[in-house]
């Protein structure tokens, strides 16, 4: 029972992540991200219950604090001051979905074939860890994908956060006994980076007059 619950939760993580990527309205995108983080916290909680390890509870807490509360707040701060609509993406949504589906399938295959290579821990080899890992990689890939194909600076920030979420998800499976201080350290780093990014984006907007990162091509000349 727990296995299917975890699977549902992780799929929820993935779906909301994709939605957050695709939505053009930045405020809605931020809400989607918030929901995505909730699902993530839920996954952590489920793993904590299943494996009965105390650190994972700390993870849940850290996840909620940073991802559900803090980061959306930062994003909202930015959005209220600047235009709230994403610019036309570089690849159309339909194409994106196709690519992401392909990536998901690829990662599933990889995870189910090469597990010994990737992480020979007990939790990883057994289900639901294995599928979880595949989803984690996909979320990571979504994050990268956003960075490459989306032009608005805020979307890129969301993409970075998705990246980080994917990494955390995989950590659950691969390194469950990680002391919580490490995780807190990582989370804090991410928060600060997002803060700085938002600040920089604000500055870029002031100088260039547009949040379009594709216009940051002054290296060319």
């Amino acid at each position: 029972m727990y296995d299917s619950a975890i699977l549902a939760l992780t799929l929820g993580v993935l779906t909301t992540g994709v939605i957050a990527a695709e939505l053009r309205d930045l405020a809605a995108s931020t809400w989607a991200y918030l929901v995505h983080s909730l699902f993530l916290a839920g996954t952590f909680a489920a793993f904590a219950i299943v494996t009965d390890s105390p650190q994972l509870y700390w993870w849940v807490l850290a996840a909620v604090l940073t991802k559900v509360i803090f980061i959306p707040l930062l994003l909202r701060w930015y959005i209220t001051r600047h235009p709230a609509a994403d610019l036309r993406p570089i690849l159309s949504p339909r194409l994106s979905l196709v690519i992401l589906a392909v990536l998901l399938i690829v990662f599933f295959k990889v995870v189910h074939t090469y597990m010994e290579f990737i992480g020979p821990t007990e939790a990883a080899i057994a289900e639901p860890g294995r599928s979880n890992l595949a989803v984690a990689f996909t979320v990571f890939a979504v994050g990268l994908y956003i960075l490459v194909t989306r032009r608005d600076a805020v979307k890129n920030v969301i993409g970075i956060c998705l990246l980080e979420n994917g990494a955390h998800l995989s950590l659950v499976v691969l390194a469950a006994t990680l002391p919580q201080t490490v995780l807190i350290g990582i989370a804090t780093t991410i928060v600060i980076s997002v803060w700085v990014l938002v600040y920089i984006t604000s500055g870029v907007y002031q100088i260039l007059g547009t949040p379009d990162t594709a216009k940051l091509s002054q290296l060319r000349h």
Partner: protein, 677 residues
């Protein structure tokens, strides 16, 4: 202090001098004199070291300065006979050119001298180093230094598009050449039994390869030849030379022609005597070298006939003379296993022509430079008759032209005579050489023709310059080097045995010990006359002193006869059929001088009913490697580079994509390398 330390000291001095002149670059005249001082002292030291080697006959070796253990190579400065000859040439040309530069470079008011004197001194240092090492690794390193320094100096006039174009061409051609040499060296290194870049080790490598894979030896030798032929300016690889020599500042043109192209000859000799054992390869390649040289002589000299730019004419002439040198050396190499006497004479002839060419070609470039300095143009149609205002320069130019044309009594004749003689006697063994010598002698007359044009139009006759030109001789510091070189030309011409004695040391030094016949049996015992003893009997003779005494006597006789009648001299205007004309109207310009001959040569091929040769234009196109190989290569390279740079369009997403792709590739590669991460 060992004599070799003089050499190392000279190198250090030149490097220090480069730094000092860089600091002094703003004070132009002072910088020049300081540079000259450094060069003069360094040249004296180098000259002493070189002379020591040539007179004692034993090579000098220093202690290792620097060792690179993993490559089993150490930097040891060694001077043997051959190096000594080239060191002497370099120091002579260096001193003269630098002295000439002192006033000459003052003309370039808007160009900073920091790109000239320091680089020039570093250039000399690298040339000295190139000929003083016996390790291919360091040879190549110093060769590169030399090439880079010469490139910077060639494009000294950065605002001149012609100079930039010529410099680019030179850069590419010479780096392809270096690439060939490097490839050949690495191939030899791979097969050497003892993994080292020393000449001896590479020789063993060749020896091994000769038995296992002779085709590869031919490839390696071919690569070496291409590399050194490009540097020496031999056609068809030397197409850069007529572009690059004219645009460089005149003193550096003198250095280029007088000193740098000779290093192609040095490299060739090193390859065929120190990197290849004496074998049939030497014979085969000797014939090829001689043929290649003769082609250069022929094509370059005929092209020089058509030039109206004085420095370009000299540049083509350099290619032609290098062809002579290759003819001599090729004959020598080819005959090494067949007839040692003729071979040694031929090699010495080639080396002698190297020395002589350094003397008269730098003299001629300095002459052209003086004319350029005074009149501001290189075009012989625009300025002429400069003897009126520059008598000493004109006299030096006449001496230089007669020397290069091979007039007996001057040094050009002595070395050409030796080349021809050894070629003819060698032709009894390998008939091809006789034909090559016939072509070479014909071209000797052609050389005479275009030098008559050079001297005649530029210096003789009535003065024809623009009104803004000052009517006086160039400064003393520019005249002294010309006179000095002129005296050398005469000295080597009248006393060739003096030079031959030392050249014998150089030539026998690079051949296996005991190989060359004794000097007296080759050249006779007299210090004043050269009596060649080839094939056992006296087969040729040239006694400059006796003949010149006879010549002088006949001159006196003629003078007495002409004075016999007691005729009076009277000045009259020029006879123009009784009409009065402004001189400029009836002046006979440079391009008309050999018009019929040039036109004739263009029509030559179809009218002789011998097997139909392709029209000259096709041959020239074939020879123009620049056009069908290097330039298209450059264009394609540019296109590829532009295509690749389009992938770095400048906006961040693309870069991120590349990073992701790169990371993914790295992971895949690591995974597939076996044994996991």
């Amino acid at each position: 202090m060992a004599v070799i330390d003089l050499l190392i000291g000279a190198l250090i001095l030149l490097t220090v001098g480069a730094a000092v002149t860089a600091l002094l670059a703003k004070w132009r005249a002072v910088c020049g004199y300081v540079a000259f001082l450094f060069v003069a002292v360094a040249s004296v030291w180098v000259g002493v070291a070189a002379f020591h080697v040539l007179s004692t006959g034993s090579p000098l070796s220093g202690a290792p300065v620097l060792t690179i253990a993993p490559l089993n190579s150490s930097l040891v400065f060694t001077v043997d006979g051959l190096s000594a000859v080239f060191l002497l040439i370099t120091s002579l040309v260096a001193v003269c050119a630098t002295l000439f530069s002192v006033r000459y470079m003052l003309v370039y008011k808007h160009h900073s001298l920091i790109r000239y004197y320091p680089i020039l001194l570093l250039f000399f240092a690298s040339v000295i180093s190139v000929v003083s090492v016996r390790n291919m690794l360091f040879f190549l390193v110093f060769w590169e230094f030399m090439t880079l320094a010469s490139y910077v100096l060639v494009v000294f006039e950065t605002d001149n598009p012609e100079a930039r174009r010529a410099g680019l061409q030179y850069f590419i051609a010479t780096h392809i050449a270096s690439g060939c040499i490097l490839l050949a060296t690495i191939l030899l290194y791979t097969y050497a039994p003892v993994k080292s870049f020393e000449f001896g080790a590479l020789l063993e490598g060749t020896r091994v390869l000769m038995t296992t894979s002779p085709a590869l030896v031919h490839l390696i030798l071919g690569l070496f030849v291409i590399g050194f032929a490009t540097k020496a300016g031999i056609l068809p690889f030397g197409f850069w030379l007529p572009q690059a020599h004219p645009v460089a500042p005149s003193p550096f043109s003198a250095v280029l022609s007088g000193c740098m192209v000779k290093l192609g000859v040095y490299g060739l000799l090193v390859v065929f005597t120190s990197l290849t054992p004496l074998s049939h390869f030497t014979t085969v390649w000797g014939v090829w070298l001689a043929a290649l040289g003769t082609i250069s002589v022929f094509v370059a000299s005929l092209t020089a006939l058509q030039q109206t730019d004085s420095k370009r004419l000299l540049a083509f002439s350099t290619i032609g003379q290098m062809g002579y040198i290759w003819l001599g050396i090729g004959t020598g190499l080819a005959l090494l296993r067949i007839s040692p006497a003729v071979a040694v004479v031929a090699l010495m002839a080639g080396l002698f022509h190297v020395v002589n060419h350094a003397c008269f070609k730098s003299l001629l470039f300095l002459n052209a430079g003086a004319a350029l300095y005074r009149t501001g143009t290189r075009d012989m149609d625009k300025a002429g008759g400069l003897m009126r205002i520059m008598p000493v320069t004109a006299a030096a130019a006449i001496v230089g032209s007669l020397a290069i044309a091979g007039v007996p009594g001057l040094n050009g004749f002595a070395s050409k005579w030796l080349i021809f003689t050894s070629g003819i006697v060698g032709g009894l063994e390998i008939p091809l050489f006789v034909f090559l010598v016939v072509v070479a002698i014909f071209i000797s007359a052609v050389t005479l023709a275009y030098y008559m044009k050079f001297v005649g139009i530029l210096f003789l006759g009535k003065l024809h310059v623009g009104p803004e030109v000052e009517r006086r001789e160039v400064p003393v510091s520019m005249v002294v080097p010309q006179v000095f070189m002129g005296i050398l030309c005469v000295a080597f011409g009248v006393l060739p045995m003096l030079a031959l004695k030392y050249l014998y040391v150089a030539a026998s030094g690079i051949l296996p010990p005991g190989y060359s016949p004794p000097f007296a049996s080759l050249f006779g015992n007299s210090a004043l006359a050269v009596r060649l003893g080839l094939s056992g009997v006296h087969s040729a003779a040239w006694g400059p002193l006796a003949i010149l005494v006879a010549f002088a006597g006949c001159l006196v006789l003629g003078y007495l006869i002409s004075r016999m009648g007691g005729a009076q001299t009277r000045e009259v205007p020029m006879w123009l059929c009784g009409e009065e004309h402004d001189f400029a109207e009836v002046r006979y310009p440079a391009h008309s001088f050999l018009l019929t001959f040039n036109e004739y040569f263009a029509k030559l091929y179809p009218s002789i009913p011998v097997p139909r040769l392709p029209r000259p234009a096709a041959i020239l196109r074939l020879f123009d490697i620049d056009r069908w190989f290097y330039s298209p290569g450059l264009r394609w390279g540019e296109r590829i580079i532009r295509a690749i740079s389009a992938t770095h369009a400048g906006y961040p997403q693309l870069y991120m994509l590349w990073m992701i792709v790169g990371a993914a590739l790295a992971v895949i590669v690591l995974f597939s390398m076996g044994g996991g991460l």
